[in-house]
């Protein structure tokens, strides 16, 4: 008898050869991460990079075109733009992160409370959030800043943070409501998991990943808000150098046609925002992989 046809029964199968692991950098927004890292490092160690004192007003050399000495030119007060970019970036990025930290904390607190609260309280909280969302945030920011007096880095971060938490809070609430209904949370409650256990083990890890995108976008929005406010003259004053306050000299620059005063800080600003956006959309992209039916 052909031994190939002998009864063999169930044989343990060799595990399928693991697919070659994709390179760690595959699919990651390398350019964006690289740029952001470079910016962050440059701003942190600006003392090393800066060629001049950014606050020094060299009135003899005001509104100079970019040249060897002043790499990016000087502004209408005679300050060196190259040095200002780095020291100003420090302020702009700091405000972006600080404001986001503040708004995210508020958002998580309000959203989680609303998601876990009884229905009437949830309705009330969400109605209030909607009302706050209905005032153009520019107005509230101007108002609040007026209350707090002369803007500094901390007070501006506070104001931006306090006015930009609403949409994250709404998302957190929806997520928490959904998670609350999911069976693993019910099971954890059955086995006696208390509120903090649920929050730490189940709710937080699951909703954090879904709000990550919004949080990153919030950093972006905070940086935009800082620069817009400072530009309009209600944010940081001229003495506190940031990308926004640098641009508040734009009016003088326009009349004298000094394009570099407008173009260079703005370009850094926009590039940073773009890199942050890329990072954000990469964070979001993981979920929807289903193919089109059309």
């Amino acid at each position: 008898m052909d031994e190939r046809f002998a009864l063999a029964g169930i044989r343990p199968t060799a595990p399928a050869p693991a697919a070659p692991k994709p390179k760690w950098y595959k699919g990651k927004p390398l350019l964006a991460i690289g740029f952001l890292a470079a910016m962050a490092l440059g701003c942190l160690f600006c003392q090393v990079i800066m060629t001049k004192d950014p606050a020094y007003m060299d009135l003899a050399n005001y509104a100079r075109r970019p040249d060897r000495e002043f790499l990016f030119g000087t502004d209408t007060l005679g300050r060196d733009i190259f040095s200002m970019i780095w020291s100003g970036g420090r302020v702009s990025l700091a405000i972006g992160f600080l404001a986001t930290a503040i708004s995210t904390s508020i958002a998580v607190a309000v959203g989680a409370a609303s998601g876990l609260a009884p229905r009437w309280l949830d309705r009330l909280l969400m109605r209030l959030t909607d009302i706050l969302l209905s005032i153009p945030s520019l107005l509230t920011v101007v108002l609040l800043q007026a209350v707090l007096g002369q803007a500094g880095v901390m007070s501006l971060s506070l104001v931006i943070g306090v006015t930009s938490w609403q949409s994250i809070a709404k998302l957190v609430r929806t997520e928490v409501r959904q998670l609350r209904r999911s069976e693993y949370v019910i099971a954890a409650r059955c086995m006696g998991g208390g509120f903090f256990h649920l929050l730490r083990r189940h709710l937080a890890p699951n909703f954090l990943s879904s709000i990550m995108f919004m949080v990153v976008m919030n950093v972006r929005a905070a940086i935009v808000a800082e620069s817009t406010l400072s530009f309009m003259g209600v944010g940081l004053p001229l003495e506190i150098i940031s990308w926004g306050s640098m641009l508040s000299l734009a009016d003088n620059a326009l009349t004298s046609g000094a394009w570099w005063i407008i173009l260079i800080p703005g370009a850094f600003l926009a590039a940073t925002l773009l890199a942050i956006t890329e990072l954000g959309s990469w964070l979001r992209k993981s979920a929807n992989k289903k193919q089109s039916n059309l």
Binding site: L143, A146, N293
Partner: protein
Amino acid sequence: MRALKRLLAFLISLLILSAAVFWIARLAPGDPLASYYGERAEKMSPQQRAQAEADLGLDRPIHVQYIRWLRNALHGDFGISFKYKTDVWQVIRGRAGNTLLLGGLGFVLIFSLALGLGILCAWFEDRPLDRIVCKAGTVLSCVPEFWLSLLLILIFAVYLRVLPSSGAWSIGDGGSAGDRARHLILPMTVVVAGHLWYYAYMIRNRLLEEVRADYVLLARSEGLAKRSILFRHCLRNAIPSYLSIMAIAVPHIMGGTYIVETVFSYPGLGTLSYESARYQDYNLLMVLCLLSGAVVILCNMLAQAVNERIDPRIRARQAVEEVSDRG
């Protein structure tokens, strides 16, 4: 019944909003007398000051002031603007038209263009056109509005000298239609370019979600053409969320308009709100905040009502959610 409830909710929202703005505004340390009396405020004697404050009702406790304001407001009297020294409505009326032109037309443009672009991108999903539009949109949406305005002014007004850089009309030229249009081009470009992409991208993604639904397969298997599935089914299913997005977008676009107005010194409500907040022109500020709040809340309610009419699921879903929430 339902309409009555909505109206009530609307009024309560406005009430809360007005109270909040009233309190915050009064907390500000600035001197409201300065905006009314200008330079003279500084030279006043204490007696004069007290007299002036009493005249303007500023010497009473805040809640009394608020109640008085509310009572007057209910009679249609919103007070006078400290800065312009006329009835606030008078001040607003002169500016509202300009903002409506910029913001309203911008809103319509944004949403019709966004719908078109969104559909186009969804139809050509992942093909070059879609990719280019998405990429260009991402880049443009990262440019802050004020900086885009500056760039446009720099290019078109300073270097090329083809378009005006500020105002709503030229001085001396009484505001002919052509002149106004020329003044509108740059601000409108910024308003539209600042928001268009974000909403187009949202529509695209929402449509792509619909395209992956099961009913699309059924429609295709009965021989329906792709185009009619997209327009008749997917679009119809996506419209409710589109309307909600539009409603949520109102304050954003309004905020954007205000910024653009300031950069272009465009005489609208944006510049007015900005001034009134900076110079503690309370009465004017209250009305402006309430006005924008009312527009936003109204839009939200409108979107919700239209949604319920279009999408019968919403009512059913609410019932279901209510049940499953008890878990």
